[in-house]
């Protein structure tokens, strides 16, 4: 394989999104879980509580594993907007949550979509935000307040 092909392949694995045909043209931030998760939809209020660490298990009792993107990404911006926090407040909030015994660790912050996919494979109770245009097979997109990304009335942009 030439160096050029290696660049494309490895770059794709690490940083390039691989659009799902069904949702490739939609806009906004998608909330995704593992395909093993039976959950199909969530309300915006529940989603906020999940990412604040106030809801820690799915309906079947499976622990929720929070997976977030690193600073500076659109998914992170959408998360902070949902929580009504600045980046600094978010960090302090999670230190406090751990100290109060309401969380074992800060949500995992990952630098790429490939890592998010991998994390959803490892943690069947995982939930994360991805750009709706980059949803991949293996990810289950949750309806938020009854809407999918791209629907009018979808609350996460």
């Amino acid at each position: 394989m030439t160096a050029k092909w290696m660049v494309i392949v490895l770059g794709g694995l690490a940083v390039l999104p691989c659009p799902s045909p069904a949702i490739a043209q939609t806009a906004g931030t998608a909330v995704v879980v593992s395909e093993k998760n039976r959950t199909r939809e969530i309300t915006l209020d529940e989603l906020r509580k999940v990412f604040r660490g106030e809801r820690r298990s799915w309906a079947v009792g499976m622990p929720i594993k929070l997976i977030v993107r690193d600073q500076g990404t659109p998914e992170r911006v959408a998360l902070l907007k949902l929580l009504g926090m600045s980046e600094s407040e978010y960090k302090q909030y999670w230190i406090a949550q751990i100290f109060r015994g309401e969380a074992e660790a800060e949500p995992i912050a990952l630098p790429s979509l490939g890592m998010q996919m991998e994390a959803l494979t490892v943690f069947s109770g995982g939930i994360t935000f991805v750009s709706a245009a980059t949803v991949k097979p293996g990810m289950r997109v949750l309806k938020v307040d009854g809407h999918l990304p791209g629907d009018s009335g979808y609350p996460l942009h």
Binding site: M1, K4, W5, M6, V7, I8, V9, L10, G11, G12, L13, A14, V15, L16, P17, C18, T43, D45, E46, R48, R52, R55, S57, G61, P63, K65, D70, Q71, G72, P74, G84, S86, S88, E89, K91, Q92, I95, A96, I98, F99, R100, G101, E104, A105, I108, A109, L110, P111, S112, G114, M115, M117, E118, A119, T121, V122, F123, S131, A133, T134
Partner: protein, 424 residues
Amino acid sequence: MAHIHKPLLGLLLFATTAFGQDAGSSDQETIRLLVQQVKELQQQVAALQAKSSGTPASAAPLSQPAEPQPDAAARAAELAEASLIMHEVHGIQWRGFGEVDYKVLDQRNQPGLGTFGFVPGSAGNFFTGDFDLFLSSKINDKASVLSEIVIGEGDAQTFNVDLERLLLKYEYDDHLKLSFGRYHTAIGYYNTAFHSGRWLQTTVNRPLIMEFAAEGGILPTQAVGVQAEGLIPSGKLGLQYILEYGSSDTVRPDIDGSGEIDDENNGNHINLGFYFRPDPVPGLQVGGSIYHDKISDIDFGPTARMSQSIGNAHVVYVAHGVEFLNEGFLIRHALEHSNLVFNNPAFYSQFSKRFGRIRPFFRYQYINANQKGSFEDVGLYYGPSFGARYDFDDNIAFKTQLDHTARKTRPDLNGLQMQLAFTF
């Protein structure tokens, strides 16, 4: 491209998953390895890009606006990995909290009162307060251990070690979470939200009503026993409960400088609390609790026992940079085999708003302890505090606070306290 991409992707996912499972003594360890793998891949990509285009590795092209550039991603991955390494040792998460304080009063501190390292008889001095080490470890998906060890400063730069909390926690689901061990009692909000690390607090100190008993506080703030808490199905109301049964043993120094120590010899306590976190107003918590046990008071005889009931109601809002804490208490002591009842009402209210790195705050506190009862050293104690907290970064904060405290039988007390609080 698709033909090459999919097998390689599958191979990589298989390899990383298998590696993660082999190495998986903990979730965090798995993630650390995954982050390391991606970092290495990104470095390879950057190197190959530089080789094929003849440009330096740092000048990687933009692939997608939604994804960080390889350099940025690599730096983020390094930071994430460093953070995990820094705060995890063999699956044990740790964090430390420390502080350095300077406090000055407009009159000499009462002899015999050396809480938090403030020198008895002094009008002003430096001290280090509490040095706090927090450890937690996940045992499995449902169980974990939490501990908080505090090295506290006493009189004349003496230090003592205190196991503030040690809890084995078991989380069945959101409706039932059990904890066994030494805990901070869930009387109201403050004692559950703020523990020993001052960095977490906006103000330099706790309101006196929520102060730890070892520092002169009047509530049974610590106990050993069992806690059950969880969510009660209530739709958007977000109703939660907490139930505690345990043994407290409150030993508190009188805060009037007499040098006396009161040992309450508490019997087993029961504490039940409910609070709402309504969905429509994120950050709002409204609730209350009722605590009951029996205590001794040597002033009423060596065998005298009193029934102690503590009611709490609170309204708290913490969101969008605003912190608004309001709690009211009624501590009722009833001497057994007697009609003697002593009521001790108290409240505090605290408001702060963050503006960038600075957070000005105001607090007002009030305690009206019955001077014929067990808290005769406190009596009527009230007054405002105001100041500001400045966050240098996400780990270091400087706080300054002015206090004016009116006391019924003694002169009003004015004080200035500055604190450098940090976490690491």
